[in-house]
């Protein structure tokens, strides 16, 4: 039908549109606008991915070396006259011999091993050998002997932690050029190391001690591990989970489902949103003032850390819980009320199960945030504390001083020895693995609970 054949041609008859096979001006414009927008999106994603790859790449490149460690295996003669002059293996007497008693034995043992293996070197005094292995060696050998006094008088094969310079040399971090002005090690030592590697006496192996061990002093990076800090983080997370989840969910349910809409609840709502934006260090100060100075809880304890992180996590949990409660369609509430369910039955039988996946995801995201938080821990003294041992027992786990993974990483990154820098990156890998595990758990829980019919 055209205008010409139309029986009553009038102004209101629409103009004939063009062919569908040719895009008109407006359509073309809209299509190019859409393409342009898509291009922006792809560029944005590309930039994001690039950053991610660079970040992950540098973390892995810098952190992976922390997971291996150089060890030197040498026979050490445990001379009886030095370690047990009385010869009666009395534990009390054995204890009297300090690590200073063991140090010469190890030095001599290493020197003899070097000479026996036919390693050519101009270094000939036992004291020169100290640069090869960790300063922790005497203590380690001593505790072996105290555990098993039968060893005294025999010669045992001991796997000594390589010194951090030796370790770095095997990993390529330390080079002959870089040690030119290093007082701790000489090129002569590196010659020994080269030959030891050839002979199989020095080896780089997977470093379990890094994952399970405790922090060590500034001068012994080769001995430092993140294990104890991990335990500290674990106990803090227990506190956060046990407090933030029930408090947060109860508060949200009350605010969302029961509280009357008035200025007071509005005020509370605004303040919860504000709290979510408060810098975490403020929570740290609060924790210091309230939990440690006022309530008298112990410093540096995971319990206090957990309480502070709970304060920090609560707004996140409340906001995400309220959002997931809000997302439950009101028709479900009406349906339940309509058959005569009470408000509480409505919430617990119908609303909460539907909101559960969202609540769990929010909580785990809050926990993950708390796990990675460092600033508040600075203020309650969980940074810089060197926990040399695992806490003995659950109570000690909560109450005895400890550190946390991010605080430990921060602490290592401050230390001068480049070996610590490497460990900081390694610690970041461990922390990221934890966070990833938590996020995977969140996804699995979400899938499992999300049987929305």
């Amino acid at each position: 039908m055209t205008d010409a054949t139309s029986p009553t041609p009038s102004a209101s008859v629409p103009k004939k549109k063009g062919s569908l096979l040719v895009a008109d001006e407006r359509t073309k414009k809209r299509n190019t606008a859409e393409k342009r927008f898509q291009a922006y999106g792809i560029i944005a994603i590309g930039i994001g991915l690039l950053f991610l790859i660079v970040l992950l790449g540098s973390i892995i490149r810098n952190g992976i070396p922390a997971f291996t460690q150089a060890y030197i295996t040498v026979p050490i003669e445990l001379v009886e006259e030095k370690l047990d002059p009385n010869g009666n293996r009395d534990p009390a007497d054995l204890r009297k011999v300090s690590t200073f008693g063991y140090a010469p034995l190890i030095q001599e043992g290493v020197l003899r091993a070097v000479q026996d293996a036919g390693i050519e070197t101009e270094l000939s005094s036992p004291g020169d050998m100290k640069a090869l292995y960790s300063a922790s060696a005497p203590a380690i050998v001593r505790s072996m002997v105290l555990d098993n006094p039968e060893l005294i008088g025999t010669t045992i094969e001991v796997r000594l932690l390589g010194a951090s310079r030796v370790d770095g040399y095997l990993k390529g971090r330390v080079t002959r050029e870089s040690i030119a002005r290093d007082k701790k090690i000489d090129a002569a030592h590196l010659d020994i190391v080269d030959q030891m590697v050839e002979l199989g006496m020095a080896k780089r192996v997977f470093n379990w001690a890094f994952i399970t061990g405790a922090d060590a002093s500034e001068s012994r990076p080769e001995q430092a591990g993140i294990g104890v800090a991990m335990v500290g983080s674990f106990f803090m997370m227990l506190v956060v989970l046990a407090l933030a989840l029930p408090i947060g969910v109860a508060a949200s349910i009350y605010l969302e489902e029961f509280a009357p809409q008035n200025w007071l609840t509005d005020l509370i709502e605004v303040n919860i949103s504000n709290l979510a934006a408060v810098p975490s260090i403020v929570f740290g100060i609060l924790g210091l003032a309230v939990f440690i100075q006022f309530a008298g809880l112990p410093q540096s304890a995971p319990l206090v850390g957990g309480l502070v992180l709970t304060l920090m996590t609560l707004p996140t949990v409340i906001i995400s819980t309220r959002a997931s409660l809000k997302a439950v369609p009101p028709s479900i509430r009406e349906a339940a009320l309509g058959v005569g369910a009470s408000k509480m039955q409505t919430v617990f039988h119908h609303v909460l199960p539907l909101a559960a996946p969202g609540i769990l995801t929010g909580t785990i995201i809050g926990l993950a945030q708390a796990l990675g938080e460092t600033a508040p821990l600075l203020l309650i003294g969980m940074v810089g504390f060197i926990a040399t041992n695992y806490p003995d027992g659950i109570a000690a786990g909560f109450l005895s001083p400890n550190s946390a993974m991010p605080a430990q990483i921060y602490e290592w990154s401050k230390r001068a020895d480049p070996a610590y820098y490497e460990r900081a990156w390694g610690g970041i890998i461990v922390l990221l693995l934890f966070l990833m595990t938590m996020n995977i758990i969140a996804i699995i829980l979400r899938r499992r609970f999300e049987r929305r019919w």
């Binding site: 009357p260 809409q261 369609p329 028709s331 479900i332 509430r333 009406e334 349906a335 339940a336 009320l337 309509g338 058959v339 005569g340 369910a341 009470s342 408000k343 039955q345 039988h349 119908h350 539907l354 929305r452 019919w453």
Partner: protein, 265 residues
């Protein structure tokens, strides 16, 4: 007034189940229901008709205090159920809603199995002593909802997996499972095909044996088919209330006449 005369004429045939006096509903400043007086009889189907936004749903929701859940809603006046004021401070709305069931305009089954949808009400009200009794209630309710034959083989399938019309009948079955005395239905057939509509209308007619049914509908034919009494609402006022036949053949108010003949609405 003419409509008052009609009310007088028709009362006495059945007992008055629900009675409203000078009911006002405000949503904030919006005066949604103005001065509504109505007597709803027992064992009768009462239809509420009127143009969109005139307050039919609002008034219906007053009868089981569903408006309590809306913060801005404010209700004045008196509504009695069996001569007891349901807005008395002593009345627990939860108890009231067990007596006054409701079917909503949009089907809203619980995201649970068909069986659990029906069993939920009886469970929370303790209507069944054991599993066998509960099974019986579920079957009876589904039969009354005219949906038993369609779902008897998949009682443990999700209720939300049914078609829209089946869901609505499931919701009706759910509402009757708690044995209410009054059943409020807000446009129960708006999502249904003519066959399902006919089934629901049949059901409503059956329910009349035991209950007082109040149904909101936009379909004049439906109101004429299922109801004995009809109330016409306009702009928040109850304009006319009386025998359905009388309202449709011989309305006394010009507004009613224009509405049912299709001139307003």
């Amino acid at each position: 007034m003419d409509d008052l005369r009609i009310i007088e004429r028709t009362t006495g045939m059945n007992d008055i189940k629900v009675s409203a006096r000078k009911v006002q509903v405000y949503y904030g400043d919006n005066h949604a229901i103005k001065d509504v007086d109505v007597d709803i009889e027992d064992k009768t189907v009462t239809a509420f008709i009127g143009p969109s936004g005139c307050g039919k749903s609002t008034f219906l929701r007053c009868i089981n205090r569903m408006n309590d859940t809306i913060d801005v809603a404010r209700i004045e006046g008196e509504i009695t159920l069996d001569n007891e004021n349901i807005y008395d401070p002593k009345v627990d709305p939860v108890q009231l809603r067990a007596k006054v069931g409701m079917v909503f305009q949009k089907p809203n089954p619980f995201p649970k199995s068909i069986y659990d949808n029906i069993a939920y009400g009886p469970r929370i009200h303790g209507l069944a002593a054991n599993k066998a009794e509960l099974d019986e209630i579920v079957e009876r309710s589904l039969r009354r909802g005219a949906i038993w034959d369609e779902v008897k083989d998949r009682l443990h399938a999700p209720g939300t997996g049914l078609s829209g019309g089946q869901q609505q009948r499931l919701c009706i079955a759910r509402a009757v499972a708690t044995e209410p005395e009054v059943l409020l239905m807000d446009e129960p057939c708006s999502a249904l095909d003519p066959i399902a509509t006919a089934q629901v209308e049949e059901l409503i007619d059956e329910l009349r044996q035991n209950y007082s049914v109040v149904i909101v509908t936009h379909s004049m034919q439906q109101a004429a088919r299922v109801s004995q009494k009809t109330a016409f609402f306009h702009l928040g006022n109850l304009v006319e209330y009386g025998e359905t036949g009388q309202i449709f053949t011989n309305p006394s108010d010009p507004r009613t006449e224009s509405y049912i003949t299709g001139r307003i609405g």
